[in-house]
Symmetry: C3
Subunit: 154 residues, 3 copies
Amino acid sequence: MSETPENRLAALGINLPVPAVPVANYVSWVRSGNLITVSGQLPLRDGKLVATGKLGGSVDEETGALAARFCMINLIAQIKAAVGDLGKVTKVVRLGGFIACEPSFTKHAAVMNGASDLAVEVFGDAGRHARSTVGVPSLPLDAAVEVEGLFEII
Amino acid sequence: MSETPENRLAALGINLPVPAVPVANYVSWVRSGNLITVSGQLPLRDGKLVATGKLGGSVDEETGALAARFCMINLIAQIKAAVGDLGKVTKVVRLGGFIACEPSFTKHAAVMNGASDLAVEVFGDAGRHARSTVGVPSLPLDAAVEVEGLFEII
Amino acid sequence: MSETPENRLAALGINLPVPAVPVANYVSWVRSGNLITVSGQLPLRDGKLVATGKLGGSVDEETGALAARFCMINLIAQIKAAVGDLGKVTKVVRLGGFIACEPSFTKHAAVMNGASDLAVEVFGDAGRHARSTVGVPSLPLDAAVEVEGLFEII
């Protein structure tokens, strides 16, 4: 069996969810040339947030990293819906991570690794992305993490 | 009369302002290939901010959404200055919304809809964009909202 | 002697550092077509942060602007590592500035000018970029400033 992103997802026991559809005047992704910009994804699992609140407050680092991983699962679900075959993803160009946190929190990188690690587990070397990670005082629906993505496709 | 973005703006009673010129070592927009990146725009109307302060504090949701709408008006004014004819905009690729807010605020999406709705009112289906919306503790000049944009043009 | 970015750096007395290598599953930059996305850079000098803490708190504006300048030095070091010759940079397309600050802080633009000014000092007109500048409650490692960059190259 060849190593495809879909195979790697299966080996990880991850079933991609039906991707969330925005309820407002925007869309989950836009393609321009061979780049697809995916809207910021929240850590939804089965329609519920896996973590609300703030890092450095009620959310610990491990839970934050799990939330970031679910943001990445949702990004992958969106890109799968966009292109059909994840093998068409030639590069994860950029991930932007927003970590809801107390002003005293400083371990944003460890939280965001939950998303970065999954990107590489699923896409291999093509998953090695540029990233920016910052704290924010709050996110939509009190989500603990939000991650946006930019993907290059064939 | 054909449906053009300029006609739709007129029907909405919106006169595009003379776009703000940065007073520092940056510019309002940069073109690379058929993509134009527009600098983050503040909710300026006639040179004054329509909303300062924070959502969840002194700024209510309705005012925040109005501020986001003015950020979008200013983005459109910049892209109009860049390309001359708004009909050359083939896609609003991405909007990035930054909402100045209290840590307890969770309705960022409703605020950002003020920008997203106008994008679709003016550009139609080409205005359906990817977006990321996050809270921030403060913005330049105490603005309540800042929105940046990425546009695809012919 | 022709005016090259490398000459301008030398005239400014700036020795580009060995660029920081991420210790996690991401990379410092990704190229897609003629665009290079560089990961968010912290204000590291000789491996130490030149400013930690928050603007409007323990970090004054001048120190913040210096920190932004070091973020830009690190962005330039990354792009130099990516393309070898800085003369291949045809445009600094976008800088994204994140300023760790107290909620009452409003002078983010002055801080970010530390990065923008250096972009123009080094790249000349090609250095005039679009930018977005926002406040954040905290950044990785308690850094005072983080700047990400998008560059167009030949």
